[in-house]
């Protein structure tokens, strides 16, 4: 059912009065949302992972390397393999069902504007971490289903997809860990914010950083909004620290999945 354009969802009126805990004291790395990750969650896929960052929940599966099916425009596409990322938001993943102007005319099943953008971001973030030169003329499919989006979905997807790649036994230089933060008006930073905790705050900027922790290399650095260069520098530093903090958790999940696999049935 499509809602008429001028209607307001109920959540518009109820959101501010909801009794969710406030996160105004989130200023350091200790205050990230609860984090959960498990690798090898799907039997059918070569590699898979499930992640929860607060209420943001998503599943990634990896298939390949296999023969190239997508056309690529870059000239040297055949000298190294490519990542083919597909993102799907579950219909119930957001508070309200929204249809943007561009999406109104698309065919059923085609990716929405948001999904295409996120898929491109994931592909850009993971390509440097995968040894694509070892799989010329091949592609790796990454499917990402977002069950619930409560903020930080790019970060969650990057971590989840890189774990799924590792779980599939694909050659990688390093894992990719990611973290986001929001800069509120008076240069105060909220680490790993959820959409609910930012709902009634004036945000002046948001930063997402993805990092290969052992190599100490940044693969994604995104900022939007407006902040001073000095604040931005601090924000990137803080986000990088948060990424590193997740490293043992992801490593542990991968080790557990390897153990479970190698255990005789």
């Amino acid at each position: 059912m499509r809602l008429p354009a001028s209607s307001l969802p109920l959540s518009h009126f109820t959101q501010s009065s909801s009794g969710l805990p406030s996160h105004s004291d989130r200023q350091n790395t200790a205050n990230m949302r609860p984090f959960f990750i498990r690798a090898n969650v799907l039997e059918s896929a070569k590699g898979s992972a499930y992640i929860e960052m607060g209420n943001t929940k998503l599943v990634c599966s990896v298939d390949g390397p296999k023969e190239i099916t997508v056309s690529s425009d870059s000239g040297d596409a055949y000298s190294e393999g490519i990542l083919n990322v597909r993102v799907k938001f579950a219909v119930f993943s957001h508070q309200e069902r929204t249809v943007s102007d561009a999406d109104a005319h698309r065919r059923i099943g085609d990716p929405t504007e948001l999904e295409t953008k996120l898929a491109a971001n994931i592909q850009d973030g993971l390509s440097p971490a995968v040894c694509l030169d070892r799989i010329p003329r091949a592609q790796i499919d990454i499917n990402c289903t977002i069950l619930e989006d409560q903020g930080g979905v790019l970060s969650a997807a990057l971590i989840c997809a890189s774990s799924a790649l590792a779980d599939a036994g694909i050659d990688m230089y390093d894992l990719v860990l990611s973290s986001s933060l929001a800069v509120v008006d008076n240069d105060q930073m909220i680490v790993d914010p959820s959409t609910t905790c930012l709902a009634d705050k004036p945000i002046s900027g948001s930063v997402t950083v993805a990092l290969m922790p052992s190599l100490n290399q940044v693969v994604t650095c995104e900022q939007s909004g407006a902040c001073s260069p000095e604040t931005l520098r601090k924000a990137i530093r803080l986000a990088t620290e948060c990424c590193v903090k997740l490293h043992p958790l992801v490593q542990k999940a991968l080790v557990t999945s390897v153990r479970l696999r190698s255990r005789p049935k």
Binding site: L8, D73, P128, V218, E222, S224, A226, P229, I236
Partner: protein, 300 residues
């Protein structure tokens, strides 16, 4: 022009840049010659043509009165960016290549402008339910490298050139309201304040050096680049409104800092130059207007 470089040429460029010597003799933070013209299209409210060496973009600004989204808490208009990379610009844009590039530049512009500092969108409101939606259409005529920066220069110049008519909305008895326009729409108009509008600076990492405004050859040698949106508002000083990493490479955290710093420095000088050019253009236009009015009022 499609660029193919041999390994030897690539090494020559990379090593040169690392030594601080670029092929065309520029320094790391130097731009190639830039030409900005405004008011080039009569079918738009404002337009600009930017030529950055051989990169050529044409930008048109149009506006429509739209309903305000009732979900918005504060009333404001909207600004939307569209980029068209035709296959004329470079053979690489034939097929889907152009779409990808266009998508990248338009989202970069949209995100760089999506903060309360860039433009005062509340000024676009004409009545309680209606507001202007400003469309910025960028057409790429030729691509000679560093398209993103040229598009952002063009967008800012075109927005500065744009004249929106003063309109009044007359509420009538029925649901529909009437839009009233004065007879002389050109003189009874206002311009957007673009002092804090951002410019985009692409900082390319070549070897271990950072350079801005890469030529086509240098772009081929770039593994990663950062697009930095730079604005300077009189109230808040220098602002970074966008950072986006592109390319297939990765960067060290320290070099991210360096690249952003270089981007801000280059962006500031670019902003200053553009403001100067826009003021110059504004002055000559004002003289022209005076001439027109003098001719019109000769009889009185």
């Amino acid at each position: 022009m499609e660029v193919h470089l041999s390994d030897a040429e690539r090494v020559f460029i990379v090593h040169g840049v690392q030594e601080g010597i670029r092929n065309d003799g520029r320094g790391a933070s130097d731009y190639r010659p830039i030409r900005v013209e405004t008011g080039v299209l009569s079918t738009t409210l404002g337009s600009a043509r930017v030529r950055l060496a051989s990169t050529d973009v044409l930008v048109g600004v149009k506006a429509e009165i739209d309903e305000i989204d009732c979900k918005q808490t504060e009333k404001k208009g909207r600004i939307r960016f569209f980029v068209d990379c035709s296959a004329n610009a470079t053979p690489l844009f034939a097929g889907k290549g152009g779409e990808e590039m266009a998508e990248f530049v338009s989202t970069a512009l949209t995100d760089a402008y999506s903060n309360s500092m860039a433009l005062d969108l509340s000024k676009l409101v004409v009545s309680t339910t209606k507001a202007w939606t400003v469309f910025v259409d960028v057409v790429v005529l030729e691509c000679g490298g560093n398209l993103t920066d040229a598009a952002a220069l063009g967008a800012k110049a075109a927005l500065a050139d744009a004249r929106l008519a003063n309109v009044r909305i007359k509420a009538s008895d029925s649901e529909k309201s009437e839009i009233e326009l004065t007879d002389d729409a050109y003189f009874d108009s206002w311009q957007l304040d673009v002092t804090a509008a951002p410019l985009l600076v692409t900082v390319n990492k070549i070897g271990w050096s950072n350079v801005v405004d890469a030529s086509l050859q240098e772009e081929v040698c770039t593994k990663s680049a950062l697009v930095v949106g730079v604005a300077s508002s009189p109230a808040k000083g220098d602002l970074v409104t966008l950072v986006r990493q592109t390319g297939r490479g990765s960067l060290e955290p320290d070099s991210v800092d360096e690249m952003i710093a270089l981007g801000v420095r280059a962006g500031n000088s670019l902003n200053r130059e553009l403001d100067r050019i826009l003021v110059d253009i504004g002055r000559t236009q004002m003289n022209r207007n005076e001439l027109v009015s003098a001719a019109g009022f000769l009889s009185s």
